[in-house]
Symmetry: C2
Subunit: 344 residues, 2 copies
DNA sequence: ACATTTTATGCTCATATGGAGCATAATTAT
DNA sequence: ATAATTATGCTCCATATGAGCATAAAATGT
């Protein structure tokens, strides 16, 4: 970077990993604890932890071209080192490079550009070099889990605050634009599109209901964050890491439809109910069992192993495995998820 | 980059633009001519132009953190400088960072990591500082234009060569995998999924029917490129630029379904037939006129201006404009494209 | 043995979507 | 007038899928 030798600002290119596993019907994501002073200069940052406190962050490592033949291999390498996990499916998400992503930039630090990746693993004890931990990803997005019905936080916190935000709009066009977005993201009559996690996060962010917004050096207007609301709107993360997480969640939910990603989160053999529970955990919605199986069968995605589950009580479930051949047979092998498309 | 002062390899972060316009029913993409010696050391590169010849490349510029607040703004800035065009819609595609993307790396050059962007514009004379030119994007992908039916190059060149490639597979599992991919990408009975442009390009690349594969420093195996076939498989581009283009094409085709992107390629008012022709040009397929309009109407995407087209012959068409309000009303406003999903 | 619980399965039905085609109207060029 | 070209209304049908009813199979508990 900085081809001219001048005082050109440096660029640091790194890799961020959203590592996902599902156990006991809860989707988990890998996070590390970092001292906030590692991340930010001690400027005023609203109610965020300051000084020596720790914040959750996604594992992040520099990209080392001499070691890493590709970006993806680089990410695999150091995440596997860090955690001792074997990464299964890995996919590039998005590259984040906004000014002041990392607040240290304001103090003369380099611009930190980060290529975000989604990685799927089987959850296992962490044996690597780092001190990472598994977190329930709905702790970061409590409005995204609809498995027990519409989360109360939506009516209790989100809607009232967003309605106020709509009302505060400067002019009428802006007000209608805001109202439309709120309706699309959190409307009662509208359908809940499980894939639009990023839209919803960004709406809450813009409405200053997410504490990370306080840190945002790009936002010129001085609207303070609603700390009261923020306490109910999930665990904050360092920098823009929750945005990266929201991106990952949307991508994963979307891809479940037409790629057999779930099987990278499951053991080699599993019952159909286990499979359904994993899909439900990720998509945040309950599924209709018969229809789910109808689609699995139609897609030829699984085949029986002939064995039965080491049973609890009730009729023992048959064990299935993923039919790898389906990858050569079908164009879009995915598990059945309510499609929700095009509300109107 | 290169935080340790050692002989650590440098990383150069740049931005690549796929700038798309549609005129006269042909989708065009902006390319620059570069001397190949700017791009590659004069090593053996099969039948590719060597030495002082020129190759087409996507506009590429370094990312300058001190000037560019975000990656996207950086891209807008220098593409607008280069071309004098006003970019409408801009979207990040993917970040490319494989070793030897740029062959100069083998001679000690930096690793060139490039963030690819899709940009939509109205085609206009180029007034900027650079010497860019508009190219028909189907010149790069002749197998992607199905508007006049299945392109003869598929039966004439693609299928025979791919069938041979399937036959050459080392073992039986590999052979079946290859056969499956060929069937999915170019099968006769399978449906043609307009979005899978990248899959198809990568298949041809792996089968060594694309001359750019000759340059690929990552490919260990020494299979030569089929130059004979390559002559019929579109214009080559520098480096991995055709891969970036294929990524853009797939993304754009996909997004047409659920985002009103077409209107960023059209003048403020247009006839419904013009609109349809642009969608057809991009998707590479003919559409059923009545159904297309049925969906437009149902979606409330356009409204009549009251004026009629300055007519050629035939009944004069009414002029329409995009209804911006639809963005606040509907979740997924897109134009009707045959969905093709899930074959089987 | 029998009820209860839990899971698996088969089947039906209503609805939404969209692909395809027929028919007709409106306008201009020749 | 006739042909050509474009616009428009309407029907029909296949498919996908959301939702529900009913029943079978196996294990646990009494």
């Amino acid at each position: 970077m900085g081809s001219g030798g001048m005082a050109a600002q440096q660029t640091a290119l790194g890799l961020s990993a959203v590592t996902v596993a599902v156990t006991n019907e809860v989707p988990r994501v890998l996070a590390v604890r970092r001292m906030t002073h590692e991340l930010a200069t001690p400027v005023q940052r609203g109610g965020l932890p300051v000084g020596g406190e720790s914040a959750l962050a996604l594992p992040f490592g520099p990209f080392q071209p001499e070691r890493h033949r590709t970006l993806e291999l680089g990410l695999r390498l150091w995440v596997e080192e860090l955690t001792g996990l074997k990464l299964r499916y890995v996919e590039q998400l998005y590259t984040f490079g906004d000014r002041f992503r990392d607040p240290r930039e304001a103090a003369g630090g380099p611009r930190v550009v980060s290529v975000g990746y989604l990685a799927l693993v089987h959850e296992a004890p962490l044996t690597g070099t780092g001190e990472a931990e598994w977190c329930d990803w709905y702790d970061f997005f409590p409005w995204e889990d609809w498995r027990k019905g519409r989360p109360p936080v939506i009516e209790g916190i989100v809607r009232p605050r967003l309605d106020a935000w709509v009302f505060q709009a400067a002019d009428d066009w802006e007000r209608r634009a805001r109202a439309g977005r709120v309706a699309q993201c959190f409307g009662v009559d509208e359908q809940w599109d499980i894939e639009r996690t990023l839209d919803r996060y960004e709406l809450l962010y813009e409405a200053r209901l997410i504490p990370e917004a306080a840190q945002d050096g790009c936002l010129a207007d001085p609207q303070p964050v609603d700390e009261e609301a923020a306490r109910f709107l999930g665990r904050p993360m360092a920098l823009d890491n929750r945005r990266i997480l929201a991106t990952a969640m949307g991508r994963l939910r979307g891809k479940l439809r037409y790629r057999p990603l779930v099987f990278d989160l499951l053991p080699p053999s599993f019952t159909l109910l286990q499979l359904q529970r994993v899909v439900e955990a990720l998509s945040g919605k309950r599924l209709h069992k018969q229809n789910f199986r109808r689609l699995l069968q139609a897609g030829g995605l699984v085949e029986p192993t002939g064995q039965l589950e080491a049973t609890g009580r009730g009729r023992p479930a048959e064990l299935f495995r993923f039919r790898r051949e389906v990858l050569h047979e079908r164009v879009a092998p995915g598990v059945g998820i309510p499609t929700v498309r095009v509300g109107g």
